[in-house]
């Protein structure tokens, strides 16, 4: 699990994803590529199929097409590790689960209510520190603010270190400071780890600032390329014309 910088050679290909629900076509023939060390933003209006796309890539819903991965040695790898930071973690806030419990679950097979492995505990401290959340370790998951929760989710998504990290509207509903801290952590990741990041976002300001590549979708890919290329395209203007830049 070396933390080499993104070499740009690893390639995750999303190939011809299609999803149908009854007679409705939610997505058809969606293809694009993701590279390590780069942040690719997926943008589109409400109902364009962004969340459906995320669910397809995660393998949660039945879909056509597939996701393939080529390492920088050129080897084809069938199953890749995907880290996922959900949009709004919908959970019971009164549940007696601490941040430590939550992070331990992914790292150990033994019941988290009993044995505490010191080595793993240290790893968790370190991981929490990288996103500035060490003080949250003993807190109840339900007591965290939106921004804190998303950073804890990010820590969770980074173990085991994924080849692909998916962020689904990661900071919608999070205050400005929380959102800033979250993106700081993301930038840090992009520079220091060998992972490709895909981010679904409504916030075009954030996309313009952080995304290396942008994929504009509406049921299918309308336009993809660098942020500049997409933002200046006719397709982009057509889709977002008269749509306010920041949606609720």
């Amino acid at each position: 699990m070396a933390s080499e910088n993104g070499c740009g050679l690893c390639k995750i290909s999303v190939n011809n994803i299609g999803v149908k629900k009854g007679a409705d076509v939610l997505l058809s023939d969606v293809s694009f590529e993701l590279h390590c060390g780069e942040l690719t933003a997926v943008i589109g209006v409400n109902g364009a199929g962004k969340t459906t796309l995320v669910k397809s890539i995660l393998g949660e819903i039945h879909h056509e097409g597939n996701v393939s991965y080529k390492s920088h040695h050129g080897d084809e790898i069938n199953k890749i590790t995907i880290g996922y930071v959900p949009q709004h973690l919908d959970f019971d806030r009164s549940a007696p689960v601490s941040v430590e419990d939550f992070l331990l679950v992914g790292r150990t097979g033994s019941p988290v209510c009993f044995r505490r492995n010191k080595k793993i505990s240290k790893e968790i401290d370190k991981a929490l520190e990288t996103v500035g959340c060490l003080d949250l370790k003993k807190r109840k998951l339900g007591e965290l603010s939106g921004g804190e929760l998303q950073r804890v989710m990010l820590v969770n998504a980074l173990y085991p270190l994924p080849e692909l990290l998916i962020l689904d509207e990661p900071v919608s509903g999070v205050d400005a400071t929380g959102s800033e801290k979250f993106y700081e952590a993301i930038l840090n990741l992009k520079q220091n780890y060998h992972i490709a990041i895909a981010m679904v976002s409504h916030d075009l300001g954030i996309v313009r600032e952080f995304a290396d590549n942008v994929v504009l979708i509406n049921k299918t890919v309308l336009k993809s390329g660098t942020a500049k290329e997409v933002f200046e395209s006719d397709e982009f203007k057509k889709v977002f014309f008269r749509v306010p830049e920041r949606e609720a």
Partner: protein, 277 residues
């Protein structure tokens, strides 16, 4: 077994310890209470209080089917039908768009009605009415051994599935994204709950079984901050309530099951006042 009676008899210089049925009942509640305390934690986390209530009610049909099919040991048909109902409710709940409390309610009332219908055929329902409130004082040595084996099995299983159930209880999608087979673990869990509920129902009663499963964990949730405190306090509260309830029932000459549940409810309200927000 006689060794246990002698030891407990000499260790406990109380009037009730002279009665074998009280010693049996005590051992039984000491086995049932931790079972309920352990399973209850996840039942409450996954908002399954109503589900387990329906499961208890399905015992009517379980017994009735056993009678119809001429199964000698009612326990077999009880457990088989209980596991079946648990899996079906879970499947319908996860598949359909119908709200889950509606689904559960339909199953609950149907199985009560069908069970009563069959059992009351020919006016013989009174034979089975002991299932309604249960009778812990009538438990036998063999049945105690059976509970003991179940407790060991559940604890062993728990070690393997605890983490998975915990993450599923936080968020299903998140668990799925980590490669956890959410349906599989949920099915294992509901099946185990079904087996334990059906094994205990004869002693605790259809009307009270759910309280025993839910109340200790609900109380523990009021005061616990992490999963360790939650599990430990749930088991401890469950044990304390069960033992004290049983003893109170002896002196007050009340129904054992009802007294245990009343004590558990009192503990719930007390912890509710001290809950951590």
């Amino acid at each position: 077994m006689d060794v246990i009676y002698d030891t407990l008899g000499s260790l406990l210089p109380f009037a009730w310890a002279d009665y074998k049925f009280m010693i049996n009942a005590l051992i039984a509640v000491v086995l049932i209470a931790p079972l309920m305390g352990i399973l209850g934690t996840m039942a409450v986390n996954n908002k399954m209080a109503f589900f387990s209530d329906a499961l208890g009610h399905s015992a009517f049909t379980g017994i009735a089917l056993g009678v119809l099919l001429g199964v000698k040991n009612e326990l077999i048909s009880l457990i088989a039908f209980g596991v079946f109902v648990a899996l079906v409710i879970t499947r319908v709940k996860n598949k359909g768009n119908t709200s889950s409390d509606t689904v559960i309610s339909v199953f609950s009332s149907t199985s009560v009605a069908v069970g009563l219908l069959i059992l009351s055929y020919g006016g013989s329902f009174s034979k089975y009415s002991s299932y309604l409130v249960g009778d812990i004082l009538s438990i036998s040595k063999k049945e105690i051994l059976c509970l003991f084996i179940t407790l060991i099995a559940v604890v062993v299983l728990w070690v393997f599935i605890f983490n998975k159930l915990l993450i599923i209880s936080v968020n299903r999608e998140l668990a799925a994204s980590r490669g956890i087979k959410t349906n599989l673990y949920e099915n294992i869990f509901v099946a185990v709950v079904a087996v334990v509920v059906m094994l205990s129902i004869k002693w605790v009663g259809i009307l009270l079984i759910n309280s025993l499963l839910i109340l200790p964990s609900a109380s523990a949730r009021n005061i616990a901050k992490n999963s360790r405190q939650y599990l430990v306090s749930s088991v401890v509260i469950s044990l304390l309530c069960a033992v004290s309830g049983l003893l109170i029932s002896f002196y007050a000459d009340t129904s054992a099951g009802a007294t245990i549940v009343t004590v558990s409810a009192a503990v719930f309200f007390i912890t509710y006042l001290f809950r951590k927000k």
